[in-house]
Structure formats: structure tokens, C-alpha cells
């Protein structure tokens, strides 16, 4: 009973934060809202017993990406320009997509259903064999680093590529260009 109340309050807060982030025009406040949203999502993950995911969400979503957004705001200015176009068509597209996604979830197994395909495939093998095969108490670590080592190597390659891409686009050293250089020169 208590867990349902907490879930409903958290989901309501998530919705409120999301709407506030859309409605606000002060980008600093929007960045803070996104940070709060990530923190609430991290709490949701803790309630779902996914502490590793919650940890990542809190560190990346709440920490690093908020700082990167603030860094960008420092470059582009704090206030959003009022948009000239009507947003009815995008709203219709978003609502239609949302309805389709909710319709899609109706066919999914219920949360925590032991007969769900995801709990029948390799998960039982990992849970029962991981302690004797890897000797690592945290099954998440043993899956990520050992059973699915190729996937994690691929993910690390993605992060590597992202870093190289940012270095290529923005660079670490500022090149001295002739003439005045302001934050808005590039556009």
C-alpha cells in the first residue's frame, strides 16, 4: 500500500517537473528541472530494486548532463526566444505517439511477472551460475563485465567515439582566429 502511494507521488512529481521544464523560458531553471527529473527517476529505479541503474541515472542524468547544460547556457545565453510557430501539429504527433506506446504496453507482461520472457531466457542461468562461475557477489557487475563483456566493450567504444567526436568538433585548444570572436559568431 505504502509503495503504491510513493510510486504515485513520484510519478506525479515526474509529470509536474516535465511540464514545468516545457513551460519555463528561463533555461537555467529548465536545466535545474531536468536535474530534479533525473533525481526522481533515480528514486524510481531504487524502488524498482535497480540500484546500479539508479546510481548511473543520479550520476549522469543529475550530475554531468546538468553541468553540461549549464556550460552550454553559459555560452548561448539564459533566456529562450519566444517561438513564432504554432505547436498544435507537434502536439498532435506527440499525443498520437504516446497513445500508440501506451497501447503497445497492454501486450507486455505485468511488472514482476515470473513467466515474462525476460525472466525465462538467460536470466535464471546468470542468477544461479554467476556466484560459482565468476565469484563476484554483485550479479550486475558479473553480467556487465564478464558474461556480456563484448557489449560493455562496445559501449566503451561508443563513449570513446563520443569523446573523440566532441574533441573533433569543439577541440580542447582554442585556435586564435583573426578578428573578434564572440559566443554567437559560429551561427
Amino acid at each position: 500500500m505504502l509503495i503504491e502511494v510513493i510510486n504515485i507521488v513520484l510519478l506525479a512529481l515526474l509529470a509536474v517537473t516535465a511540464i514545468a521544464a516545457v513551460r519555463l523560458h528561463d533555461l537555467f531553471a529548465v536545466a535545474m528541472m531536468f536535474g530534479i527529473y533525473s533525481l526522481l527517476a533515480a528514486v524510481m529505479f531504487v524502488l524498482l530494486d535497480a540500484v546500479d541503474v539508479a546510481f548511473t541515472e543520479a550520476a549522469v542524468g543529475m550530475g554531468i548532463s546538468t553541468v553540461l547544460m549549464l556550460g552550454t547556457i553559459g555560452l548561448v545565453g539564459r533566456h529562450e526566444r519566444a517561438s513564432a510557430h504554432r505547436s498544435l501539429l507537434p502536439l498532435a504527433v506527440v499525443v498520437a505517439t504516446g497513445v500508440a506506446l501506451i497501447y503497445g504496453t497492454l501486450d507486455m507482461p505485468f511488472f514482476g511477472d515470473p513467466d515474462a520472457p525476460v525472466h525465462q531466457h538467460v536470466a535464471p542461468f546468470y542468477i544461479s551460475e554467476s556466484p560459482s562461475q565468476t565469484g563476484v557477489p554483485n550479479v550486475v557487475t558479473s553480467i556487465l563485465a564478464s558474461y556480456r563483456g563484448y557489449d560493455t566493450l562496445g559501449e566503451l567504444a561508443v563513449i570513446f567515439t563520443a569523446g573523440v567526436g566532441v574533441l573533433g568538433l569543439l577541440g580542447l585548444r582554442r585556435r586564435k582566429r583573426p578578428g573578434k570572436e564572440g559566443p554567437h559568431d559560429d551561427r
Binding site: A54, G74, L75, T134, G135, F160, A162
Partner: protein, 139 residues
């Protein structure tokens, strides 16, 4: 550089704790929540806090961009290199059992090494991205 003594002193006190906590998350990931990715991000957060409070120029002298660029590659190479070592030991790519006489010890060693590689690359990439964004506004 922010000229606020409270912020600067708090940052000086808290940054070592952040880095220590990141190392704990890194090497305790086998036993509790956490691992290379989270640890790398937390480690980077310590440096980013330093950069926010003391300026990106101070951050650049604390950890030079050339070292960061090197570390980005070192982490990935460490991960991929563990796979090469297991192949040289006569097993499959990333099959850690071959790393030691005892398969469990090999698994432990392999997981520790690849998680460390993940942590190095992730933290170096995060600090690099922060410097690339925040450093553009420097005079």
C-alpha cells in the same frame, strides 16, 4: 574563478571526498552497486566541480588536456588488451578464466581490469567534454 570563500573552501574539502568515493565505487563494484561507469562519472564530477569553482584554466593545469586525450584511449585499450591477453593465454577473447590458474581468480582479475578501463575512459571523456563546452567562453 568564483570569488566566494564559502564555495571555495567547501569545494576544497569536498573534492577529495568525491574522488575517494569514486575510487570506492570503482573497486567495490564487484560487491555492491557501482562499477567503472559510475565511478568514472563521479571521478569526473570531482574535477568538473574544481573547474566550476576555480576556473577551467586551473582545471587545465591540474589535468592537462594532452593527458586527458591519452587517457581516453588508454582505458579502451586496457579493456581491449585484456581480451588480447586472454587470447594469448590460449582462450577466447575476454574469457577471463585464462588469466590465472584458478578460474575464479582469473574472473576477478579480468573484471577488475576491464572495469578500471571503463572508469579511465569514462572519466577522461566526461572531463574532456566539460572542458570543450565550458572552455569556449574563456577570455
Amino acid at each position: 574563478m568564483i570569488d566566494n570563500p564559502v564555495l571555495r573552501i567547501i569545494a576544497k574539502i569536498i573534492i577529495p571526498m568525491i574522488l575517494l568515493f569514486a575510487l570506492y565505487v570503482q573497486f567495490h563494484g564487484d560487491y555492491g552497486p557501482g562499477g567503472g561507469f559510475q565511478a568514472g562519472v563521479i571521478f569526473a564530477a570531482g574535477f568538473i566541480l574544481y573547474g566550476l569553482v576555480f576556473g577551467t584554466e586551473a582545471l587545465r593545469s591540474a589535468i592537462p588536456p594532452g593527458v586527458l586525450r591519452l587517457l581516453i584511449a588508454v582505458g579502451l585499450l586496457l579493456f581491449a588488451g585484456v581480451g588480447v591477453v586472454t587470447m594469448l593465454a590460449g582462450s577466447d577473447y575476454l574469457a577471463y578464466n585464462a588469466l590465472a590458474q584458478d578460474p575464479l581468480a582469473g574472473q576477478h582479475l579480468g573484471i577488475l581490469a576491464v572495469e578500471f578501463g571503463v572508469g579511465i575512459t569514462v572519466s577522461a571523456v566526461m572531463i574532456t567534454i566539460f572542458l570543450a563546452f565550458a572552455g569556449r567562453n574563456d577570455p
